[in-house]
């Protein structure tokens, strides 16, 4: 029974336990859930970016067949509070009211205005068309800089400003002083377009009320069932212990489901009002308006250095588009990036300011990487430009400034203590795989020949902060919750093991990885482990899944809980084997007495003996189950080196990624296949920002890229072969030595691609191309540079 478990599970490329049902869709997606008497909710949304609502009449909808109820924002206002922002980043932040449904003013296209509840989805959608709404248009607020001028129209007129907050971070020597002594300074402005997260599964909500007890079960496609439960209690006034939140199988999030959404509160409010279960599922184009967006920033960056390449300091001035409202962590996203601009480099001065700005667009919030891709983009772009300015190879410039592997732990100028890393090793490996020198020679040859197709090489050496988060750090950042995680392990009498986790997977493969971790510590077969997650009734404690935290914090909690189980089981085994605890060996799930190998008990036998409790040590609490909560001491810091070669057709502006090499150091690896998949997906999304995706608004504030036909998500055929390798420098801040991998590819790849395009076109006079680097933008950049 235990022989097969003697092979270590951690480090094996185990096929994922959850894949068969997830891939076939024969599983508990929220939209697959049905209950007796289920009604369907549809939401009428503002067609305008900004307007006063002068009249809403839902009564014509009630005349439509199959309609049970219809409500305006005013109808639901009583008993429904403002949606929460859990990260008021400064003391004087402007916190606007955010009703789940607009009452007197709409502030972005897609703001909910009214809803219908009907017997089926068709009737609900049809009835929306009967609702009458009168709007008095107000001016949209779309430009981040213009929004801050005195005479700008206001998104929230009661607040008197569109400036949400100003958040500074100044460390080391003053930047003015290093600027004075610097031999070279460069200033650049970079733009981060808005992105639409595009999880494969749209959002969906089902609420089932239990009239007799006043309890509500909220099924929702979320990354954060535990946080949703707390917040729904606050927003709806339903006592927290009467709300059960279930995140069934969830089909991707990328941060877009790290949110507390109005539709969750509306479904609860409606179910409470009419006493019937309701379901709401967004359509893709509805989601483009109603599910939060990512990025949306203007970065002014200045770097100061000496001629030999030594960096002296960095100044960053950000304008961050909040959108119309502050959602769960909207204001904090650029702050997560604030600590990452200095990246892997040593310098004497860092001066960062972020200004949050309200606009009449869909709110922004976390999107894969959340603040860190933006930071990495800015620093890695300007490092390439600085290398050109100094006549240095971009890799050499980095080498002269990065933290040496012997210098860890190292406290960065931004105040983070990087526990471990080896930038030299990752870079050397990447350069070798990429054949850097050969590509440089080809590039020079094409330039010499004046080839219409140029070649460029982009470099991106990144680090990130993962494993959110030490709770005390979160306190200092004014975040309203902690960063701990919970796990408990139940040893069932039949030998099966239930691992209950507070993390909430939505595609990551926690079921497989947690099984591997538990199987190793407990010495039980991988197949005997089941992982329970995403249900506040089954897993009452958790801080959920985002920020590459699940393995680093949640996986560590599983590991520690399993060790507690073994410690308890050892007491029982010692009693049963009539030996002292010290005389027991534990290996491959078997307790044996030193020197008498035949005297043995498996941990699963111990579990059964504990269940019967017929023969336990005196005073022994009759369980070997264990729980562990962990609050990390530090973040984890994955890093790596990404190299990208892009061919640019100067005649059409078309770009073609010819090769992409990344060497990531994510510490110890639990499942290499899952790591590989995370890197591939991350690269795809990072490359998508560089080349393809953009939420485009017109001058009136309408989302023009409103469907997948107009928002260009690349598929496998649009992406190159990736060469993905790793170095392995274990994290020292957790017993597994793991660092997290969910965001690495997205963070590193965007600057690698854009650096490559600019590198290809620099000989033609091109300095910058705004993302996404569409063919027409590339073509125009070439043409304008040559004019």
């Amino acid at each position: 029974m235990t022989d097969q478990a003697t092979e270590r599970e951690v480090g094996r490329a185990r096929p994922r336990k959850e894949d068969a049902r997830l891939i076939t869709g024969q599983t508990n997606w929220t939209d697959n859930i049905s209950v007796n008497g289920l009604l369907h909710m549809a939401i009428l949304r503002s067609p305008m970016a900004h307007a006063r609502i002068t009249r809403v009449d839902v009564s014509p909808a009630l005349e439509r067949p199959g309609v049970i109820a219809a409500f305006s924002g005013a109808d639901l206002a009583e008993g429904l509070g403002s949606l929460p922002c859990a990260w008021p980043v400064t003391e004087d932040i402007v916190l606007p009211d955010h009703p789940p449904m607009a009452v007197d003013e709409v502030r972005h296209a897609g703001d909910p205005v009214a809803l219908v509840v009907a017997r089926d989805r068709y009737a609900a959608a049809d009835a929306l068309e009967a609702i009458e709404v009168d709007y008095e248009p107000l001016p949209p607020v779309l430009d981040l800089e213009a929004a801050l001028s005195e005479d700008s129209p206001l998104v929230h007129s009661d607040k008197g400003t569109n400036r949400c907050y100003v958040w500074p971070l100044k460390t080391g020597e003053s930047f003015d002083s290093v600027r004075e002594r610097a031999e070279v300074t460069l200033t650049r402005r970079y733009h981060h377009q808005r992105l639409i997260p595009n999880a494969m599964e749209p959002r969906a909500v089902v609420v089932t009320p239990l009239a007799a007890s006043g309890e509500y079960t909220l099924y929702t496609a979320t990354q954060i069932p535990h946080i949703v439960r707390v917040m729904m209690a606050v927003v709806t006034g339903i006592p927290e212990h009467k709300i059960r939140v279930v995140a069934p199988d969830v089909g991707g999030g990328f941060g877009s489901k790290l949110q507390v959404y109005g539709e969750e509160a509306l479904a609860l409010a409606v179910a409470r009002k009419i006493g019937r279960p309701v379901k709401w599922t967004e359509s893709r184009s509805e989601g483009y308006l109603a599910t939060h967006h990512g990025r949306g920033m203007i970065q002014d960056i200045e770097i100061a250095a000496n001629r030999d390449g030594k960096l002296l300091g960095l100044k960053v001035d950000l304008l961050a588009d909040m959108g119309a409202y502050l959602m769960l962590v909207t204001p904090g996203i650029p702050i997560l990036g604030a600590f990452m601009y200095p990246a892997i480099y040593k310098m004497d001065s860092y001066d960062f300011t972020c200004t949050g700005v309200f606009t009449t667009r869909t709110p922004t919030d976390a999107y894969r990487g959340a603040g860190r891709p933006e930071a990495t983009y800015a620093i890695e772009r300007i490092m390439d430009d600085l290398a050109v300015e100094l006549g240095l190879d971009p890799v050499e410039l980095r080498r002269r400034n990065w933290i040496g592997h012997e210098e860890f732990p190292y406290t960065s100028i931004a105040g983070l203590t990087y526990d471990s890393g080896n930038y030299e090793a990752a870079t050397e490996k990447a350069l070798g795989l990429f054949d850097y020198d050969k590509l440089r020679a080809e590039q020079a040859d094409r330039n010499r020949r004046g080839d219409a197709v140029r070649l460029g090489i982009g470099v991106s050496t990144y680090t990130e902060m993962c494993g959110l988060a030490p709770s005390r750090v979160l306190r200092d950042l004014r975040y309203s919750a902690g960063g701990w995680e919970a796990a408990s392990i139940r040893m069932l009498p039949t030998g099966k093991v239930e691992v209950v986790t507070g993390t909430s997977p939505h595609g990551q493969g926690h079921v497989t990885c947690w099984s591997q971790i538990a199987a190793d510590v407990l010495g039980v077969p991988f197949e005997d482990v089941e992982v329970v997650h995403g249900d506040t009734k089954a897993s009452p404690q958790g801080m959920d899944t985002y920020g590459s935290r699940s393995l680093v914090v949640g996986g560590t909690a599983v590991h520690s809980a399993a060790q507690k189980v073994v410690a308890k089981a050892r007491k029982v085994a010692a009693h049963l084997l009539e030996a002292s605890e010290q005389d027991l060996d534990f290996s491959g799930g078997v307790f044996s007495v030193k020197g008498s190998p035949d005297a043995r008990k498996t941990i699963q036998e111990v579990a059964f003996e504990t269940f019967t409790s017929h023969d336990l040590p005196d005073g022994f609490e009759p369980t070997i189950n264990a729980e562990h909560l962990i609050d990390p001491d530090n973040f984890s810091y994955p890093h790596g080196t990404h190299l990208c070669a892009v061919e640019v057709d100067t005649e059409t502006g078309q770009t073609h990624i010819r090769s992409y090499v990344c060497v990531d150091d994510v510490g110890k690896v639990v499942n290499p296949m899952i790591v590989e998949g995370q890197v591939h997906g991350g690269l795809a999304q990072g490359i998508a920002q560089a080349l393809y995706e953009e939420a485009v608004y017109d001058d009136e504030g309408n989302l023009v890229s409103g469907t997948m036909a107009d928002y260009f998500v690349p598929s496998a055929v649009d992406l190159p072969e990736f060469t993905t390798e790793r170095t392995e420098t274990p994290a020292t801040s957790n017993p597994l030595g793991v660092k997290g991998v969910g965001e690495a590819g997205t963070i590193a790849s965007t600057p690698a691609v854009v650096n490559a395009i600019v590198d290809a076109l620099r000989p033609l006079g091109v300095q910058d191309i705004r993302m996404p680097c569409t063919p027409e933008r590339v073509w125009r950049a070439v043409r304008e540079a040559q004019a």
Partner: protein, 284 residues
């Protein structure tokens, strides 16, 4: 998909389909492979009272020869067009262009006739059939009539089909011995072409004797690059092809959208026409 309500008819024969359409007046929409109509219904941009599904009429499927003409049933799927030996032999341009349409799922459902009757100038196949000098056969209450491709595409999403007419066949003169190439320029594989160029070239003694160039997404209908076609006659090398194709955007009226300005589309039309003709002529 949550479309507005509509009535649904699924005739088993062309005659029945035409009768159904005739009885419905202007408010009926023909459903072929559904790759254009269903998104419109889903987004509630179309509100037909009746959807007439012609996707299961056997006589509308398949490819046959008729002398020097290739006859393709309107409901032949893209996938079947790509793999049909007759198409590959006599209208290889169509097979190779069809292979660039969207993705495998779309190509298994979408049909040649459906794409042509939808008449989206950004779609690949209208320009290709125009370049092939195709003819479209419509059947109405009064019988069949044949419409040259040049007259079939009337305006954006508008064809010469009457509301009670059904597109039943596409007739293509065999292009044996012609060089061909479809040059598609798009943002991602699943996206519409920003510009597409379908080129057919007949060479005589190393020089271009005849060239036909169909343009995708360069106006409210698919277009022929007539000026370039005329200028290409006699071209014998890459330089002369380049000179001739400078005229490729003449007479076009492209629109501006998120992916391209008018100026950029005109530029692309010239570059892509040159590339397509060079490839078709084997001069690339």
């Amino acid at each position: 998909m949550i479309p507005p309500a509509f009535d649904y008819a699924r005739p088993d024969s062309v005659d029945e389909a035409v009768r159904t359409l005739a009885g419905a007046g202007e408010e009926a929409k023909v459903l072929a492979g559904g790759q254009s109509l269903l998104p419109l219904l889903r987004l509630r941009l179309a509100f037909p009272e009746l959807v007439v599904d012609v996707g299961r009429i056997p006589e509308l499927r398949g490819v046959r020869e008729d002398g020097d003409t290739l006859v393709i049933g309107a409901m032949t799927t893209h996938h079947d067009v790509i793999h049909d030996p007759l198409v590959r032999r006599h209208a290889a341009l169509l097979a190779s262009a069809t292979a660039t349409v969207a993705d495998p799922a779309v190509r298994h459902r979408g049909t040649l006739g459906g794409s042509l009757a939808h008449a989206d100038p950004a779609a690949d196949l209208p320009g290709v059939v125009l370049a092939l000098d195709g003819e479209l056969v419509a059947q109405g209450p009064g019988g069949r009539r044949t419409i040259p491709a040049r007259e079939f595409f009337v305006d954006y999403l508008q064809t010469a089909l009457a509301p009670d007419e059904l597109l039943v066949e596409v007739r293509l003169p065999k292009a044996d011995g012609w060089g061909f190439h479809y040059e598609k320029f798009h943002r991602v594989a699943q996206a519409y072409a920003i510009v597409g160029v379908a080129a057919l070239v007949r060479r005589d003694d190393g020089h271009i004797a005849e060239a036909r160039v169909g343009l995708t997404n360069m106006g409210s209908t698919p277009l022929r690059a007539a000026a370039a076609e005329a200028a290409l006659i006699g071209a014998g090398d890459a330089e002369s092809v380049a000179r001739a194709t400078e005229a490729a955007a003449e007479g076009t009226h492209p629109s501006q959208d998120m992916s391209a300005s008018v100026e950029y589309r005109e530029h692309l039309a010239r570059v892509l026409t040159r590339r397509a003709v060079l490839a078709a002529a084997g001069m690339g």
